[in-house]
Symmetry: D3
Amino acid sequence: MMKDIKILAGTSHPKLIQDICKILKTQPLKVTHTRFKNDNLFCRIEENIRDDDIFVIQTSVKPVNEYLMELYIMLDTAKYASAGRITAVLPYFPYVRSDQKDQPRIPITARLVADQIALAGADRVLSLDFHSPQVHGFFRIPVDQLQAQAVLVEHVQQTKRKFDVVVSPDAGGVKRARAYAQRLGCSLAVMDKRREKNDDRVYMGFIIGDVQNKAALIVDDEISTGQTLFHTTDSLLKAGAVTVSAFCTHAILAGDCLEKLKKSKLEELIVTDSIPLLGKPSAKITILSVSSLLAQGIMRIHKGESLSELFMHPFRI
Amino acid sequence: MMKDIKILAGTSHPKLIQDICKILKTQPLKVTHTRFKNDNLFCRIEENIRDDDIFVIQTSVKPVNEYLMELYIMLDTAKYASAGRITAVLPYFPYVRSDQKDQPRIPITARLVADQIALAGADRVLSLDFHSPQVHGFFRIPVDQLQAQAVLVEHVQQTKRKFDVVVSPDAGGVKRARAYAQRLGCSLAVMDKRREKNDDRVYMGFIIGDVQNKAALIVDDEISTGQTLFHTTDSLLKAGAVTVSAFCTHAILAGDCLEKLKKSKLEELIVTDSIPLLGKPSAKITILSVSSLLAQGIMRIHKGESLSELFMHPFRI
Amino acid sequence: MMKDIKILAGTSHPKLIQDICKILKTQPLKVTHTRFKNDNLFCRIEENIRDDDIFVIQTSVKPVNEYLMELYIMLDTAKYASAGRITAVLPYFPYVRSDQKDQPRIPITARLVADQIALAGADRVLSLDFHSPQVHGFFRIPVDQLQAQAVLVEHVQQTKRKFDVVVSPDAGGVKRARAYAQRLGCSLAVMDKRREKNDDRVYMGFIIGDVQNKAALIVDDEISTGQTLFHTTDSLLKAGAVTVSAFCTHAILAGDCLEKLKKSKLEELIVTDSIPLLGKPSAKITILSVSSLLAQGIMRIHKGESLSELFMHPFRI
Amino acid sequence: MMKDIKILAGTSHPKLIQDICKILKTQPLKVTHTRFKNDNLFCRIEENIRDDDIFVIQTSVKPVNEYLMELYIMLDTAKYASAGRITAVLPYFPYVRSDQKDQPRIPITARLVADQIALAGADRVLSLDFHSPQVHGFFRIPVDQLQAQAVLVEHVQQTKRKFDVVVSPDAGGVKRARAYAQRLGCSLAVMDKRREKNDDRVYMGFIIGDVQNKAALIVDDEISTGQTLFHTTDSLLKAGAVTVSAFCTHAILAGDCLEKLKKSKLEELIVTDSIPLLGKPSAKITILSVSSLLAQGIMRIHKGESLSELFMHPFRI
Amino acid sequence: MMKDIKILAGTSHPKLIQDICKILKTQPLKVTHTRFKNDNLFCRIEENIRDDDIFVIQTSVKPVNEYLMELYIMLDTAKYASAGRITAVLPYFPYVRSDQKDQPRIPITARLVADQIALAGADRVLSLDFHSPQVHGFFRIPVDQLQAQAVLVEHVQQTKRKFDVVVSPDAGGVKRARAYAQRLGCSLAVMDKRREKNDDRVYMGFIIGDVQNKAALIVDDEISTGQTLFHTTDSLLKAGAVTVSAFCTHAILAGDCLEKLKKSKLEELIVTDSIPLLGKPSAKITILSVSSLLAQGIMRIHKGESLSELFMHPFRI
Amino acid sequence: MMKDIKILAGTSHPKLIQDICKILKTQPLKVTHTRFKNDNLFCRIEENIRDDDIFVIQTSVKPVNEYLMELYIMLDTAKYASAGRITAVLPYFPYVRSDQKDQPRIPITARLVADQIALAGADRVLSLDFHSPQVHGFFRIPVDQLQAQAVLVEHVQQTKRKFDVVVSPDAGGVKRARAYAQRLGCSLAVMDKRREKNDDRVYMGFIIGDVQNKAALIVDDEISTGQTLFHTTDSLLKAGAVTVSAFCTHAILAGDCLEKLKKSKLEELIVTDSIPLLGKPSAKITILSVSSLLAQGIMRIHKGESLSELFMHPFRI
């Protein structure tokens, strides 16, 4: 076991880090983050970290590339300051959706980021809900991928919510939706999106599966502009669903998503605090915290305990 | 451009290599493959290959690990014999389904194989229909992944076959099925498999989507024992489908698959020759050749031409 | 020699790239740069680049980290699109001043960037006027570092300007100033900055060397806020200098630099177009173009010709 | 020192692993080895191994490539399951005789395997009696190569056997034979094999050295088909040797070796259990166990104690 | 923390190693260094070092390449003898002045040495006063660079010496001289060397800065032939300096430096024992020991304590 | 094929390089080798080498470590000067006898040198007569190992010399001696050295094999002090040999070897010019040149032609 757990905090999500530290009964390392006039980032760790067990926490949120570069610089600083072991804790993994080459001459940026994180000094990664499970294979260092599923299931049990059908908003997400359906004892449906012409607007689609007279829960790994989600909601209601809610782990809420949410017929949007809420919170949004899940992950990595049971049960430290 | 195209042939699929060489109007390199009495493999390339553009062709078929080790040894031999550039041509990629860590403490063997292929000497990979598109991101060398879709579409057009609905046999394959449906102008359905108890037998499931009075085409990347495929066939017929056919790129046909195929209600099983047919061919099986597709890929890599148009149109060399 | 020179353009400095392409009598590759709603960058190269000799041009300017990540993504895209050779052309190298560890637990970000550029796919680097010559040693790939000195000397000769003393604005830059003094036939002086208390404001300092009745030229690798430069100007005038001009290769011009320039007693600020001018140009600023120098470098790398004579003589393609 | 010794057992040699575990007073890790219907191997470690000191034990025996791939997969699994340190324990090293390039365009597979073992996750190797001592230099990770010599010497002392001359069956093995001769106080002889024509049959050869009226012990690192050994036996007897015995560390016993042994004039074949005996044991075979030697090696690696004294003295744990 | 501190001594500087070991209250590891008749070096470590915290001490002194190769061989030996962690302790770093490419087609040998030290097995480096601070960035392993400044300041305080002006002997050293001036409360001056023709003789130069009636201290990282130093001394005296002394960390004293020192007007030459004094000591030379500084560095690395305070205060173990 | 063959000459063996260049009808590159006063080596290549096919020639001779470091520096210089491909041509490979770990805690320096050569920039190696063939496996870059055997055989044929028995001077060399015996149609014998006590003096030994009334040729890869060779000569004569000659590829001739040769009963010592003759030549020494063999190797590598036939036949360019 390394000397001590020490938390090296990026600037992307102070609240989450505070919550994690509180659970771990520790304080983040003293660190000075600077942006020079020439727009270059810089950090100085103000305490000795030799041989310590360092956890660098940074999430991916707007401005994404600023926080990503800050992450790399923190890793580099910790490595050459002789950290004992460095774990990059990334609640929302940067560029996670850029995971395949479905057109010629495009990047697989999630792979590039995986390599750059290791190059910069990380010995391990702890993250949450990759877009696709295969992203795990992009790394050449050990990765623990936690799942927000357990957080949702615990919430549903505590609030005695009842859903009848879990809906995947597109073909790529059916496997995830299937897993949620099993845990929640629901049936499964999937949206089949069509685009009428070759433009970017997504048209309402057909629902594959039975949703009539059912309480539907759409599940997805992230919500960006919400366009897909709100269209799916409309389609489900048109197809006879009684109510439509949604659970999206990573709440990007880009563009005018919050405004559209307000107007939409979606009853409730459940998200986690893997990224800080941009814009004003809405009455329709329920935020579940992953701080306990991440704190558990950190503590178990430090102690060399298994993380696998985190996937199965509610967790307390 | 490297000096010359030279084909270094593994022993897994002589017929396919012969067909590819015929199209390329070349002969495979003279090579001696030996299995010593102590079960060690060995190869000797009998011609000079310095600075040549070497394409090592090997597919993954039973005995999988023998052919895989043979592949590694051929790559090693070519590398240290001063090949100019080495492309591993792998019609069916070994261990391609071991692409995620969905249980604790299991391997992601497709990533390991990707690394070992590069270590052994490959500068590039040319392959066909990965199980998931993210496998592309496991590599740190350029990969060209061809798709058998075009071969199927060409076949359907030539034979004037007509399908109404494309069916994914499980949640993980919905995205692929979606793509086929678009190309063939079909609607989409998906099987939702259930297991009643925690044993390995797969029970008949529910079909999500409308198949009544339709000609169904199940699509999958591979057919192993066929268990899933035959159950899906039964379910589709029970749900009102008129006929059920299937297209699976890689024809593993393990166990008693061929016998079961004979008895099953599946009308036609269309496969490719990415792996040699194990067992006797059946009247129900149609084999489409990928030799022209692979030969085209090889020639374009050698000449530095784009491969992307191979995905769109029928191809002749 | 690689097949063809192809220019892959980042979005940081369109004008400079246009000028370079004009000299090279070529067009940049067709490329689509996209920023998704979730703030992730993406690019797609719209033409085949297999086996070509790719030059990716990107400079470092505000927002620095956005352009840096864009650079990495372009390199990654070109590498896996099977470029023959990739040269990162970086007129102003990112994070070039973060080149030493003069405090405990800080990063050497220029080294990190050097490694990340190679990791992302660059085979070579072409850059201009590093802050310190040792930065060259951070790389494990060949680097050609051009020097704007020749551009300035040519300008001085053409405009028949006359300087008597070259001044380094601080101790770290004396070696560079010494080189300019030799080329321009001037004597040398150096500013010795003092800070009275431990705050960030730089106080006027002492001048080491004789500047009385002399036309002074301050030289530095870059001008950021200009604070040091304007203080040095005042000190030089107070010490009897007749006129004070300055040459700074990289014109960052951060904060209210341009306003201060207007008010300052600096007669002329000569810079290059290694980065695009932020803010409105000023009558006091003379901009020398490095496009010809960079175009020459690109052409000679492509043809395998020596770049060393670029350091000595005026250059035409 | 790592947390705990844990033994991860391959399926190639259950008896030897059982013996080693007994000496170490431990149980192997719970692990599930699976061969899927498509012939792909898979393993799942059923216990937490984070930060533990893992020893993966696998020998090389028919089917060699199956066990080798199983080894790679176990290493990969242990690495990404966050093992603290991984030692590959390989009683008989795979492909150990493929150690030189004595023909053009052949592989040095022992080097390839050395690299693949490290790539798959091994931090160290513990092995026994390489074919040539230089194989040690193929690795870039620390290797402990134990020698069965001490096991043989102990056996000879306990059984009060007496040999007069140690014989190398070919030129390549003279150095090893020399070492045994010194330890056993014997003189040395060497077989000079000749082939009359360019075919694969090995003809009886000349003996270099005096064997008349002597009790001869042939020593070699391994016995495969035994052809060389039995011919050497005949030659020695013809040259006047009184009795001929043999010690071969690794008992491959390929083809009809056991039958030939029965018929041959070799008095006794002494081997170790570095690989499991294939075929029925013969009255002429004496098997010495290396389990104690390997268990000692494992324990000393774990404790950070010197292994060098294992080469000199009998050993008990 | 690793098991034990163990010192592996090269043969370049026995006295310094003895002093360091005395302070650390330890004995160097028993090691046999051999030079074979064919001029090949060899070493054998005579004690077990498994899992220990090894510090390999070697300085760079004539014959430089012999000691450098000896260093590489010691590192290789320690690595494959299973050392727990290896720190290369290099009081004077080899080839440290070859740190930039200021002519075409020359090496940056300090970078090459940095890479070779890591390749040979070092996990970390502990060194003293690099020629330029950027050399730090040549490494991809953590480096602690101690500074002899503190040793000098302590000496000046103890001996109550008084200097008025710190002089850099050339442009490249102004930054270092600036730091000494601040610590000693002195003003700053710099020599501007000129060469009249293109030969190797350095001519007397101009002094930039005021030295009249002042006690001058020239500071430099090393003294080789002393040519520059003695010329600077003459120039300073001619310009009115009262006395001239010098502090050079690394005392190479090449050629007839000691004789010239005797004849020169330099009052005192203060050096450290980072390299052993070649030739007879002179009455004019004061040697300060860095053994305590290095011993402190070693102990703090071993214990995981911060080294940064070593830069600020006098140090006792 | 690379642009041009260019020879980059080390300073260890000017005569051999001159001969090679003459055969290749080329001039070595202009290069300046410098040894600074501080004993640091330096080189500057005085001509453009971009994209050229560089062959760096250096042999291993006293002072071994100086020439080795010079080699590394030349490789580094060529790499960063943008050479197209770099082949290290090493007639006598440095540290080639340090190829195994036959004692605890010693280095395998030949492996270290192999790695350092690749690190410094070599893409390939061309060498001659390794001590053991397994050294080939130490490299991760392609190696062509030429054999002086063919040079000797050609010489024997031309001079109509006749030998009856080939003798290996120790157990380790029997395999090499065996090969020579086959090529020369001789029988085989081997010396069995004994040491009476544990000191370094080698005592006369027993000969294994029949040498009576025979013309003996001792063969070895190198002759250092000659002690073994001269003892073997005496033993052979005592055992009835008529004449004793010797062929040693690499003529180190260390210590008083040449004097001893004069006094010894060895009739003729045949060597090659792989290393320059140290000391005065002796009437007893015949020197065969490997310049033609190496020139052929260089030319064939450049043209991408097979080198394997060089092993079989006399060679002319």
